[in-house]
Amino acid sequence: MQWESWSAFWQMGGAGVYVWACYGLTLALIVAELVLVIRRRKDTVTRLLRWRRAVGKDVGGQGARVESVE
């Protein structure tokens, strides 16, 4: 074990501010990214459900099927 006490661990030999700022920001960014990804998925599902209700069930068949010429 490297550390004599927890407070020594937090102080990181005097460089605690720098080390914990690095780890803190990284953690915050990762959490933010995960939240954004999950939120985005939920938003997409809600929006698409709404969209499908608006256009009706037959979303794939919107375009006119052109059978023949003349």
Binding site: Q62, G63, A64, V66, S68, V69, E70
Partner: protein, 208 residues
């Protein structure tokens, strides 16, 4: 000449048409019909090779467009909505550039003759920005007289902004091109006096 099979076109969020199959043979004049927004222009751009279809394919003399691009574009004249005129150039300069860019020989005398033929003799050396809508349209159409060697003409609304005489004249030119073994595909909202009634491709048949 041009064979289309099972073509589908998606524009943004909307499926414009699907399962579109037809072919165009030499001597034919095909009119694409249907209300606004049904995909007439999209179809023409797609056939010209400007955009890619969502599904299906277009063949030029039996070869898929992607592999016959150069040969296809040598045999195609496409005139779109925009007249491809630069305001700072004169009609003559615009026409000569259009021909040269397409890969045609563009003799000055031939270009002058084409512009005179379409009724722009007096505007040859004016900058294009002073021309009226109809006159701008004519500069683009002057290329028809220089492109007899290109068998396939695809024209998007060629009659727009033209007066009655010009419409008749253009219809005669198109009919003559078909007589000579060419093929014409066009969209239009107005009736034109063609020598023979054009075949109609109705995109709006079952549109919603």
């Amino acid at each position: 000449m041009l064979a289309v099979s099972e073509l589908a076109c998606l524009k943004g969020d909307r499926l414009l048409f699907r399962g579109l199959s037809f072919s165009l043979e030499p001597g034919e004049l095909l009119r694409v019909a249907g209300p606004n927004g049904v995909g007439k222009t999209s179809l023409l751009r797609l056939l010209a090779g400007l955009t890619q279809p969502e599904a299906g394919e277009v063949r030029w003399h039996g070869t898929p467009l992607a592999r016959a691009r150069e040969d296809f574009h040598r045999g195609l004249l496409y005139l779109g909505h925009a007249a491809a005129l630069n305001d700072l150039l004169t009609p003559l300069e615009n026409l000569r550039f259009a021909c040269a860019a397409a890969g045609d020989e563009a003799e000055e005398t031939a270009c002058v003759r084409a512009l005179e033929r379409i009724g722009l003799a007096a505007q040859l050396d004016l900058p294009a920005r002073v021309l009226s809508q109809g006159q701008r349209r004519r500069v683009g159409l002057a290329r028809l007289f220089l492109s007899a060697a290109r068998p396939l003409w695809i024209l998007d609304e060629p009659f727009t902004a033209l007066d009655v005489n010009a419409v008749a004249d253009l219809a005669a030119t198109l009919s003559a091109h078909c007589e000579a073994g060419g093929a014409v595909m066009l969209t239009t909202h107005q009736e034109a006096p063609f020598a023979r009634a054009p075949r109609v491709l109705d995109l709006g048949g079952r549109a919603c």
